[in-house]
Symmetry: C3
Subunit: 209 residues, 3 copies
């Protein structure tokens, strides 16, 4: 495993999602192994779904550095659990970096498999969001993807920018950085200004009143 | 992609499940992208599980017509949400067509992979029901498969008829139509006459009283 | 299919998980097919996840003996439902045998695919526990893996012992038996003496009071 920008960002995303999983599990008062399991599932969920859909062996099964990083980060999360909690903003930032990075890996691997651009963007969004969805289902919370924070929309927008830049043959590392920053910016701005997408109501119930 | 009966029915099923997913999401007051996500997952869930089990790349990743159809149908569902609601019977019919069609694709692809008939029937039922199960789990409702409507039973019966007709070398298009009509008829009759399967109770609690 | 110790234990695990699924479904008052579905999913869940991750066709799709065994055992579970209930201890034992056996199949298949030992242990734990997790999610109960019974820990410990014995070239059948007995013993002792792992609390809420 060489240390390209791609790999560094990928491990950063893995670490961020492991922390978010460990914190969510501690919030639910799960025991030691429950914390490890949630951290593990949150970290590998998106990439595993991506690799299964592509027909490849999941990355964490071929490269043990992922398991060791997840284990180490989970232990650190338990030790520094109260300090991390004061750093909620930086956790939110890491979580968003995770979303951005995993979106990129999904789009990238879709392109490497000659899939249609719209399929690549979809694959990117699934890779970026699935770990968090599993974490929330296992912790019995409303999946992050359905909260009002425009989570999936940030991922899809980033994926679209990735495809456009890629068509103009922009340098790959530049694409990664620009796309990540766009996803992070969208999510930060949306949460700061409480922007949300419209909802649509069926007026069935109203007519009953 | 040629327009064989198989493909026409397959797209019809995709459309029907997309509508049912969009309506379920609007009922839960999810935002714009929440509606798209649920419609997408409901539509592709069954076929994706089928393809993963077989070891093939999911159809929607190779043929973008599925994503465009799901997107278009979801937009139409949002625009005409109140009109569709008055057409609950036709929605129920479309949903049942979806169940029938996806059951057929599961059985068919099992046969093409030389699997045992009983495995083909099981694969058909998983293909037909999994999208609806995902929709209901994500919308936090009791999965359709566990309601009293004999949902999976209709699918399994249709799969059995498919295998029997196939053994008699009946024309494939005839098998598709006959099997679909059987699944649709079973579900219509069962819902109309409130037929349900027996339940079995453990009398543990009784002895406590 | 020859009747090696591996296969005998594998079917024993399948049967045990099918019984546990059928009983859980009857407890939730599901109808006849609901019971079959939960029994089936609980039985095949772990092995199917293992085979998908490895990129192999799930065992039950290639060998119909699994479907027939699950069907037969489910019917027997329904007929003798009240007698089985009196045998809760033996059910618990069978469930634990299932955990042990499926852990072994996961580790074994990981080794056969030349995966790293730590990946094999992880794969073993996923194989051993996933069926029970699916059963509990579908029955809307707290997943067994998160209860205080050190379920996953028993599996991981067994997997570790498997890898160590395998490194010393111990006879495979001996490894299977020793590892199974270790997993069973850990779970029995833990449940009998109410041993549990520590939990870690975030003291966020306290500071609000």
């Amino acid at each position: 495993m060489d240390f390209s920008l791609f790999n560094v960002l990928d491990l950063l995303g893995t670490v961020a999602f492991a922390i978010s999983g460990a914190l969510a599990a501690m919030n639910r008062k799960l025991d030691l192994f429950g914390i490890f399991i949630i951290a593990f599932v949150t970290s590998i969920g998106g990439g595993t779904l991506r690799d299964i859909l592509i027909g490849a062996t999941p990355t964490w099964m071929l490269n043990t550095i992922y398991i060791y990083f997840i284990g180490g980060v989970t232990i650190l999360s338990i030790i520094f659990r109260n300090k991390i909690n004061y750093l909620k903003t930086s956790l939110f930032l890491f979580d968003t970096i995770g979303l951005g990075v995993f979106t990129i890996t999904g789009v990238e691997i879709g392109l490497q498999n000659d899939l249609d651009p719209i399929v690549c963007i979809t694959l990117g969004a699934m890779t970026g969001t699935f770990g968090g969805v599993l974490r929330d289902i296992l912790c019995a919370e409303i999946p992050v993807i359905f909260r009002k924070e425009i989570y999936a929309t940030a991922s899809l927008t980033g994926g679209l920018v990735f495809i456009i830049l890629n068509n103009f043959n922009v340098n790959t590392d530049v694409i990664y950085i620009v796309t990540s920053l766009i996803i992070i910016s969208i999510r930060l701005v949306v949460v700061k200004y409480h922007i949300s997408l419209p909802t649509y109501r069926l007026h069935e119930e109203k007519s009953d009143v």
